[in-house]
């Protein structure tokens, strides 16, 4: 009589997708509800587990026991984190799995980011590698100022980093989308060039290498903003390396982020392979049920569409992802109105210092050991509602650099338990 699945996951980010995959791999029929397309194109594409906890973290697994009791990592434990990373490795061909230790990836701001997994396209750029580097920016890709990034980087790394800005190839619009430029490299489109009145045309990858060669100097590796192809970055990088005689790597960028889009595609393919049913475009706004949750309700311009399930997982994100909301009076979780602990006086929600200990950064729902969402009295809000990812409280993903790791690990665990619980009490 209705749209019905075993496990219904609310939220289409990394946490929701990891939950859905995990539950489907355990045998459940899974529905993934996502308000919009995934927000992964806002993400760097790097998979952090734990970058900072009282300073830079070298090995996240060694630092977990020192985290506060309410941190989601304490709930899922080292095993949960490893399972989360295994799931990622089964979906992508990311690098970093050879060690527990954090890799140091240069960012487009010229900083170093400690991260657990990174796209292979960034592998030659690691800061722990001491080869001299050239960073290349493009005049029209204004988010990446290569000379500035190189200058900042030089202060922190044991190698020489130089930066240069060149014009991109051909006569693309000044505000051409980054995906358009990536596409030209993917397809190796022929680029017209006029010199001394003579017009020649070169394949895009060759033309790009030609443009960079005069600046190469002693550099043994060359970093570009992460736009070296959308579908075939490996091929683009190999061509550039062959032409330049140097290693080539991508520097992760802000939105729209190609590494994020590639990660999204990898997850979507995996979800499809596992038979997960994805429904996106409209928000979940309400639910049906009492102690036991029966359905979540999606709103489509006033019409309410229930999606029934046996088990539910909330993976709607935190304050930024709109999984946690606030008014001037209170902090809330908008779908089920789950309990979200917060100081009564809203002036205690934040710290006067910009980089101080902000309470708002840790806002989120509380769970028991099985990731079931708890009410103010510490009892489950519903017998069959779990939570994963940013909607969880007790951690500050931005300060810790732990966002993806928490999403993957809690997603895997929540999805697995949800799947195990299906039809336990028919």
């Amino acid at each position: 009589m209705a749209i019905e699945d075993d496990v219904v996951v609310v939220g289409g980010g990394i946490a929701g997708m990891a939950t859905a995959l995990s539950a489907a791999r355990e045998g459940a029929q899974v529905r993934l509800l996502s308000h919009k397309e995934s927000t992964l194109r806002h993400a760097s594409g790097l998979i952090d587990v734990l970058g900072y906890a009282d300073g830079l973290v070298a090995d996240p697994f060694e630092a977990i026991s020192g985290l506060p009791e309410e941190h989601p990592y304490r709930t899922v434990g080292e095993e949960g984190i490893r399972d989360g990373l295994d799931l990622l490795d089964s979906v992508t061909d990311y690098a970093g799995g050879h060690t527990d230790r954090n890799a140091l990836v240069p960012t487009f701001g010229g900083r170093i980011k400690p991260t657990a997994r990174y796209p292979k396209t960034s592998a030659s750029g690691l800061a722990s590698d001491d080869r001299d580097s050239l960073l290349v920016g493009f005049e029209t890709v204004v988010d990446f100022d290569a000379p500035l990034a190189a200058e900042r980087l030089s202060a922190d790394v044991p190698f020489d980093a130089r930066g240069v800005t060149v014009a991109f190839l051909g006569d693309f619009r000044t505000d051409a989308r980054i995906t358009r430029l990536a596409h030209a490299l993917d397809e190796n489109e022929r680029i017209e060039r006029t010199r001394n009145g003579i017009s020649t045309s070169l394949p895009a990858r060759t033309a790009l290498a030609e443009r960079v060669k005069p600046h190469l100097g002693d550099a043994e590796r060359v970093g570009f903003p992460a736009m070296l192809g959308e579908e075939r970055p490996g091929e683009v990088i190999a061509s550039l390396e062959a032409e330049l005689g140097a290693d080539v790597f991508e520097v992760p960028m802000g939105p729209p982020s190609l590494p994020g889009m590639r990660l999204e595609t990898a997850f979507h393919d995996a979800l499809k392979d596992e038979g997960v049913r994805t429904t996106s475009g409209n928000p979940v706004v309400d639910f049906e049920g009492g102690d036991e949750l029966e359905a979540v309700v999606v709103e489509r311009n006033g019409a309410e569409i229930p999606f029934y399930g046996d088990q539910f997982v909330l993976a709607t994100g935190g304050l930024v992802g709109k999984g946690i909301d606030s008014t001037r009076e209170r902090v809330s979780e908008p779908i089920f109105d789950c309990h979200v602990p917060a100081p009564e006086d809203r002036y205690d929600w934040s710290d006067p210092e910009a980089f101080g200990e902000h309470s708002f950064a840790r806002f989120g729902v509380e769970t028991d050991d099985e990731l079931r969402v708890l009410d103010a009295d510490g009892e489950p809000e519903f017998d069959n509602l779990r939570a994963a990812g940013g909607v969880l409280g007790g951690y500050d993903f931005a300060a810790e650099k732990s966002g993806s790791g928490v999403s993957l690990s809690t997603g895997v665990v929540a999805g697995r338990i949800a799947s195990e619980q299906v039809n336990v009490n028919p």
Partner: protein, 442 residues
């Protein structure tokens, strides 16, 4: 609390700093933080390097327009109104609403009413007003429209792409069939018979068939009626106008408003009596659900939007459609592997996975989703001579994926996507309702 703290709190209290301004698109514009995600999702920008993309057409253009000497850029006419930007914006900016408004303003203020483009667009947008003529003499009309001389004249005179085949007019329109069959009263009887003893009060739907299934593909509309009656629903078919989709897309907002007003009044009255509104075309349901409430505030607009459903969606929510299909089958020779394309407008309503999900359980067919690319025709867009190449370039990916499927039959909910699918591959294109009809009724 110190006095200073108290002052700070007071100063921070929420207040409306834009009081007195009429309701406008400022919130949409302010919510855009220029992440450019919409631009990466735009099928036109994907193939047309000159098109500035949805972010410019929406929030940026709106801001530019705050300066009095700024006109709407003519590139707005290259937006195909696929509305994909809406479904990716993480900030809920009403992009397609902003595009519709800008396009309307451009057409109203900058396009000459005597230009070939305006006349052609007006004709295309008002297909529903002209179709009855053709439908009166379908054979003659089909013959004339199929003549190469007609196409040449249309192309030269009006700028309608000569490569396109005009859709054939049906021998009998859906509404003529409906009347001949006995109209609402006959449907009530059939539904009652199929229901048997069951209570009837809430099994009533009002069908918004749209112009295309009335004049060109009445088999889709007939399937809708038969399938709904099979489940015990009484169908009514009220008089109706075009949903407005082609008018929004061509910036003919006055035409759209007249049509919308008529439809809203008609269907709001039925919703009031307990009917739900059912569409078989996903662009029609999109118009009733999203564009009407975005652009109009006639009495009943929100009520119609909240009670409008796509045909399969409604049955899925209210009936055991999965169960019915699990016990049914269709002839494999007729359906087999169906190359399914999800229309962009279905995508926005969250309906893109539905047809494949449902019909996979049905014996005799194995629907395959051909991917998430746009078909490229976008209603009247691909009919324009100057847009034809863009339209076909956008469609390329879909054509390729369709060719990869085993059979030579396609499936989609949108009549113009169906046209494009057929045009690019030669496949016969079916509507999911026709499959349901074959499985559950015929």
């Amino acid at each position: 609390m110190s006095e200073k703290q108290a002052d700070r709190r007071d100063a921070a209290e929420l207040r409306d700093v834009f009081t007195g301004e009429p309701l406008d698109l400022r919130p949409g514009s302010d919510d855009c933080y220029k992440c450019s995600t919409c631009d990466t999702e735009c099928p036109v920008a994907e193939v047309d390097d000159d098109f500035p993309g949805p972010k410019f057409q929406g929030p940026e253009q709106w801001r530019l327009k705050r300066k009095e000497d700024q006109d709407i850029d003519d590139s707005i006419m290259s937006c195909s109104n696929c509305m994909r930007c809406d479904s990716v914006c993480p900030s809920d900016v009403p992009l397609s609403g902003m595009h519709n408004t800008a396009r309307g303003e451009y057409v109203e203020e900058e396009m000459s009413k005597f230009s070939r483009e305006y006349i052609r667009n007006r004709i295309l947008a008002n297909y529903g007003r002209l179709a009855p003529l053709g439908a009166k003499f379908p054979r003659l009309a089909n013959f004339v429209m199929g003549l190469s001389v007609t196409k040449t004249v249309y192309e030269k005179l009006l700028g309608i792409a000569g490569e396109r085949e005009f859709p054939a007019f049906a021998e009998q329109t859906f509404t003529d069939w409906w009347e001949e069959r006995g109209g609402n009263a006959a449907s009530k009887k059939r539904a009652e018979r199929n229901r048997g003893e069951e209570e009837s009060d809430d099994k009533r739907v009002a069908y918004f068939h749209g112009d295309y299934s009335n004049f060109n593909t009445p088999e889709v509309a007939k399937s809708m009626v038969r399938v709904y009656e099979e489940f015990g629903y009484e169908v009514v078919v009220p008089e109706q106008r075009c949903s407005g989709t082609p008018m929004f897309a061509n910036g003919m907002l006055d035409d759209a408003k007249r049509a919308a007003k008529f439809n809203i009044e008609t269907f709001a009255a039925l919703v009031e009596q307990g009917y739900d509104v059912i569409c078989s075309c996903t662009s029609c349901s999109m118009a009733l659900r999203q564009e009407y409430p975005e652009l109009y505030s006639f009495d009943g607009t929100a009520k119609v939007a909240a009670n409008t459903y796509e045909a399969l969606e409604f049955l899925r929510i209210n009936e055991d459609l999965d169960g019915a299909l699990a016990d049914a089958s269709v002839p494999e020779s007729e359906f087999g592997s169906l190359a399914y394309h999800a229309p962009c407008h279905a995508r926005n309503q969250g309906l893109d996975g539905q047809a494949v999900e449902l019909l996979s359980a049905l014996d005799g067919t194995d629907p395959v989703d051909v991917g998430d690319s746009c078909s490229g025709i976008s209603g009247t867009y691909g009919w324009k001579e100057e847009k034809y190449d863009t339209s076909m370039k956008i469609g390329e990916e879909m054509f390729e994926h369709m060719e990869d499927t085993e059979g030579e039959t396609g499936m989609t909910e949108c009549p113009t996507c169906a046209m494009q699918m057929n045009h690019g591959t030669g496949y016969d294109i079916r509507h999911p309702l026709e499959v349901l009809d074959a499985a559950l009724v015929s």
